[in-house]
Symmetry: D2
Subunit: 217 residues, 4 copies
């Protein structure tokens, strides 16, 4: 890779990228593809994904305590492959993630509870070919906090669409993970410059808690 | 940025990413945001964008000779900013690209001719908030050849959606450009692994011409 | 037409259709295709459209006094017909509605003011091939009040999509019009049973005003 | 209902509606919501739905003999109702159609075979919140033949979207059914005027067979 982070950061700053979009009043938590196969380095996992799952479990507990809408995604293809698509031409192994394949199950640390949406999807973005926008709009959500795997794939695609569909978007940076660190970091850079704010889960919790304390005074 | 290209390439290969999706029988050419402001390094341009425009002009001539459907995009916001969105919160300068602002005009090397679609858009992807999918499906297109700027922004978002909407997607790698080279290359890597084949414009012309010659024999 | 309204109303009631979806806290006003050509009986207009425009002008004044987001649509095709679609195969006359054709202008009673969104569209629904969902979600809207023409065409399609995209939907029944009354009424029936509540503009004004009075006490 | 069919037919003809969009070269068959609960008059069924299912079974046999892509939809909501939406506010009984509820199963006459797509949906249109457009585009489809229930609900919404997404659309008029005949006929009128051609299943079979015979000569 040519160029350094410092160099391209300068160009983006001079051109007016990277303004903050903040956090709104009604956040939802989106957990992208934290399923067994993306937690397993011998399948689609590796890198910093285990740490991201652990951090997401803590953020999920907070989200539940605040009664935020919570949505999770799983990649699921039909047993007979009738729903194969261009994505599976590029990544044929995804077709193995059928409805009952245990590798496609949400990891136990994040098991959904009643009222949480579990979306099946066949494309990178949590919004592509799903009714997630309608679900969020129907619950009055103005901000989507994004966690999941992988940063350079389904997380990035979901962030672009969350923003594009009208939701303030925050990437919980310690709650997103990838099988390899260079693409992870390159995509955090792109998202921060153009689509979303990056915050640690601790910063998200602190910001929201401070508001809540203020509102109670 | 930690990790090297060679290292993460290995991980992706082992996990079965990066298969080829080929080129179909009925390609269309998509030219993303090659407008004055993205050709100008003092606005949103710079880097290798001038070379990408020159290469795209040659590919466009070929596309016209083959009667491919051609679509171009421009970013256009309302004079009164009534259509500001989350994208313009992150990149406020985009709001200056109003209908009649000359900085928002297609560069002269690529001036559209009758029958070519010029789409206004307000989001990164050429497909987001537009009827481009319908336009392509209605013209029997099975493959979208993508050119434009920037590789790490509107090109990447358009490639994810072209693929997700059912079209074989090819990134004409010398016809996409970016203001900074590190994000350009990082995004070429991601697209090649997961969404699209990368081919030079010469390879695209040669592949299609060879088929045509064969069909005539 | 076989069967009577009373007869099919019974069937729908027995099967549990037609529950009320109410009005939310943050309404927006959507005005569909009230342009010159749909006000003119020699073009695409006629029927009860003039009265619907007059009623919409009154509702628009109320919406402005309450600072609701207001969006209007116009059908606009390219001068060279490059964007012809399946809709224009069925209704070829629509292709005449180009950007500068005065028949495609919003009627003077409803001239938009600064901050109101004017969307170009090429399909029946105000949401199809546009970024209207993102615009509404980005402004915190939970309810879309629909007016416009024609009830059996672009209004119906917009109502199905407003509801489907997660917004409580209300058809302002005296503010929607059609070139022929039988389709107008048949579509009001369908929308009321399945997608939206029907309210007169007076009822909408009274309901919202009563809430506001209560909130001030 | 005021006005007669003859009267409004005249108005539509004078205004240039109702042109034919034909049938393309690569049709797909779409079967909307022919599940047990829509075949049962004590649930959401009744009217002419049984005859429409029988006619669809014959058309499906033809589609299979021609190797057309075949897609079927089922309405499916989560066991815990986490995915309730505005549609279920208007028609609360739909929430009973959970994954394993036998009332939500495809009717036995139309049991899908390997390679046929079975889509879960939560909204009227087969395209809303699904990846059906991508599936059709990815299979080179240019024409969607629509069958299913109900004519005035999910069939109509699917037809508007099939057309809007760029596919020539044909309503197989004896293969669509509704719980009440007046809305059935009113919606056939609207679809024929604006979105799709109406053909009987016999006409579809004859048209396609004639082409095939011609191509073999």
């Amino acid at each position: 890779m040519t160029g350094t982070l410092a160099e391209h950061d300068d160009v983006y700053r001079q051109q007016g990228f990277g303004a903050s979009s903040g956090i709104g009043q009604r956040p939802a938590l989106l957990i992208v593809d934290f399923v067994e196969s993306f937690a397993d380095p011998t399948m689609f996992g590796g890198g910093n994904i285990p740490e991201a799952i652990a951090a997401t479990a803590r953020l999920l507990a907070f989200a539940r305590s605040r009664h935020w809408p919570v949505a999770m995604t799983r990649i699921v293809f039909a047993d007979d492959g009738a729903d194969a698509n261009i994505f599976t031409r590029k990544v044929p192994g995804l077709l193995a993630l059928t409805e009952t394949n245990p590798h496609g199950a949400i990891v136990p640390e994040l098991t959904p509870i009643a009222g949480e949406l579990v979306l099946r999807k066949r494309l990178p973005s949590a919004f592509a070919g799903t009714d997630l926008t309608a679900w969020l709009a129907g619950r009055g959500v103005d901000t989507v906090i994004v966690t999941g795997a992988t940063t350079s794939g389904c997380v990035r695609a979901s962030v672009v669409d969350a923003m594009g569909n009208g939701f303030i978007t925050v990437v919980a940076r310690d709650c997103v993970g990838d099988r390899a660190l260079a693409p992870h970091e390159a995509n955090l850079f792109d998202m921060q410059q153009k689509y979303a704010d990056l915050m640690t889960s601790d910063e998200i919790v602190a910001t929201v808690s401070a508001r809540f304390a203020q509102a109670k005074e």
